[in-house]
Symmetry: C2
Subunit: 434 residues, 2 copies
């Protein structure tokens, strides 16, 4: 017998061709004496039609087969406009490759609802549902679209350590690791290391996990996330916004091109955002909030309420620039035009369900300012070790960078209600399994 074909290839064969398929029994339906199986594989679903099995053995075997059994099907192609996808396969023979329990903990057809906790508990069933499956196809396309941008713009891919002895953003969200008798941490971001890497490679990116001991139970927080991290020598905060625009457009175009069926499942007509994205300063954002009666403390970050109002004013991704220096990480320095401001900027998705997608800016390269900034942030400059020494040794060009959340990006593209939906096996304060 020849090679296996995938479900989506059946349409390419002529009526009467004999084909072999492998896959899972997605649904079973009986209509009088005819049985219909939907056979699912990684590429989709095709209908198998069973009319009048001849032998007693065959009848017994077919009766045994339940939902999610893994089977090998030999059958005959029959084009039929009424069948899903326009083609069905008349069963010639079937082999059970692996059984499954019956009934299943929940049904994997997309019609039967299941609550999110149950779905996560049995994630190995959940990812067989077409709509969940689609999320991870889109996720793959998001990363691939990002890489296409990096590849055609001469970035070097780097891998930075996830076990670190110095946190880039202070201690409150660090996970301690017991490392050969020492207490060290999981990296909250590759911040220090991507700054190191530009000294050899100028334009670098990393796609990797990062870890935050995030106690908040919200729709957008995880303890373990994957990010796209970028750092570029000789780039200022304006260049950084151009880069983020091009990156996001590359990602959206790639998803739109490679995932039409997945987007259709979510009824999403993906708009490619147009350059330049709107850019407002933090002070302008504060003014918008104030016009709606929300006061913003100009020395701290936007409150969730204020940010929501600002987001509601936009209908495309937009930047908020010049964050107050007092509310941001120590590795940003003061703005030339106003030392209470900074070169830090965020990229946000608009609307009620939008959120902050990336954070970054031009970095401080003056070791004396870094020492002062660290002290103000309650970080002992001595604890910064090699990072601070790097600036003293010098040869550090001006540079800028950002970190963009992959999980959040997938969540925004598919308009998922919770970022956990975008992660194969999410980690939060409550979830550790699978």
């Amino acid at each position: 017998m020849k090679e296996r074909i995938y479900t989506n290839e059946a349409i390419n064969f002529k009526d009467g061709s004999t084909v072999k398929l492998l896959g899972w029994i997605h649904t079973i339906r009986e209509l009088g004496k005819i049985i219909f199986w939907q056979l699912r594989d990684a590429k989709g679903i095709v209908q198998i039609v069973i009319i009048n099995p001849k032998k007693r053995d065959d009848i017994e075997l077919i009766k045994k087969i339940k939902n999610e059994f893994v089977v090998e099907i030999i059958g005959t192609i029959s084009h039929n406009e009424k069948a899903p996808n326009g083609v069905e396969i008349l069963l010639e023979s079937v082999n059970i490759i692996a059984p499954a329990v019956s009934p299943l903990p929940f049904s994997v057809d997309d019609k039967t609802p299941a609550n999110f906790d149950t779905r996560l508990k049995y994630r190995y069933l959940d990812i067989r549902r077409l709509k969940v499956h689609a999320i991870f196809k889109v996720r793959g396309a998001v990363i691939e679209g990002a890489r296409e941008y990096f590849k055609s713009n001469d970035f070097t891919e780097i891998h930075t350590p996830k076990i670190i002895s110095v946190g880039a953003e202070g201690g409150t969200t660090l996970f301690p690791v017991y490392y050969f008798g020492k207490e060290v941490y999981l990296a909250q971001s590759p911040q220090f290391y991507k700054q190191l890497a530009i000294l050899g490679f100028e334009k670098v990116f990393e796609i990797a996990p990062f870890f935050r001991a995030e106690k908040s139970r919200t729709r957008r927080h995880l303890a373990e996330s994957w990010g796209i991290d970028v750092e570029v020598a000789f780039a200022n905060e304006q260049d950084l916004m151009d880069i983020q625009e091009d990156l996001l457009i590359s990602i959206f175009k790639y998803v739109k091109k490679s995932c039409p069926n997945e987007l259709k499942l979510y009824n999403i007509d993906l708009n490619i955002p147009k350059k330049p994205f709107p850019r407002i300063t933090f002070h302008e954002a504060a003014k918008i909030a104030l016009e709606h009666g929300i006061k913003v403390d100009l020395n701290s970050d936007l409150s969730a309420e204020a940010e929501a109002i600002v987001r509601s004013k936009f209908d495309s991704p937009f930047f908020i620039t010049e964050f107050p220096l007092s509310c941001i990480a120590f590795y940003y320095g003061p703005h030339e035009k106003d030392p209470s401001l900074s070169y830090k900027l965020d990229l946000l998705f608009p609307g009620k369900n939008g959120l902050e997608l990336s954070s970054g800016g031009r970095r401080c390269t003056d070791p004396n300012v870094l020492i002062e900034r660290a002290k103000k942030a309650g970080i002992n400059p001595d604890s910064l070790g090699w990072y601070l020494e790097m600036f003293k040794v010098g040869g550090i060009p001006p540079h800028s960078g950002f970190g963009m959340g992959i999980d959040r990006l997938v969540m925004m593209i598919l308009r998922l209600p919770n970022v956990q939906e975008a992660v194969l096996c999410p980690r939060t304060i409550d979830i550790l399994s699978p």
Copy 2:
């Protein structure tokens, strides 16, 4: 003034063209009244020639500029066969963008030796050396070459959790993490999670860090490594070897095509290995060792000594198959033809300096055998939680997979003396910084 050009682009301009470059002063050489700078950027090096600066200010400025200063150069293109790369730039003006200390902790020209500890301590200087720089260009090409294979063979990229509550390979090499009041671990491999993922996507890969509390101080061990992990539904151990061959060939071809200069720096004429790679069984390997007077216990892994002898018999990557069941992870089951053997196989690089590059095989899918195997390995089956339950719920096709070390692969391609050389900021029992 126009856009910056990179050093490797200078050759494309006509004599007399005015260009702008940004970069680092790699070397300074005086020859009578002429000063030569080698200017380095991410793309390479070009010679800047300073003849007779006219103004007193210029002379002062030029004198100030030391090694590793970051500068902006305006100059005139002059093609000159005697210059490195056939072109040099006659200085018109220079601007200091960022200074560096003088003298530097060690010289970044590739001529002055520096010991590895010093190089690692100042990794931000070390990566400016051309030969070190080349390692990470090759590393980037290795990952890209792998992805080209996965993309053209319809694999889905996945991201699995690095914080886990169950180790796949027992407790001895797990790093404990303090997670919201619980003790959990860093993932030694994505083993359980890639097996979960094939149930939705059939063919999956992940490129991600993994963690092993490896106490051995050897040329090939790290506490944090990056791996290419693969798992394929409906694949047996034979298919798995085909996949690894194609993957490795794709990687080698990509490196050869995209890194000619980097390979030349290491005097490496990269041979693309030919299919099929030699395949010997563990018993055959044991026989080879025995012929050289090394006895092999057929119930444990090959000793380092025995493996070295076997490697010396090959001159291309090769597989050792059918490892004894008693010396391998519990998630492999017994071989049909002999229950003391397994479907586990390793891919090795040949020769005295070769090593094990990947490990994998066909997995056990029978929950009862898994329970028995876990018990024998001293793992309480209850602790396997969702993993064991997955096999009980069922619908699990036969599947195979492997994990291939990226750091080791780069080490082998460039014939580096130590795997630490292949990692931007390595982690070992002794190294935690930078």
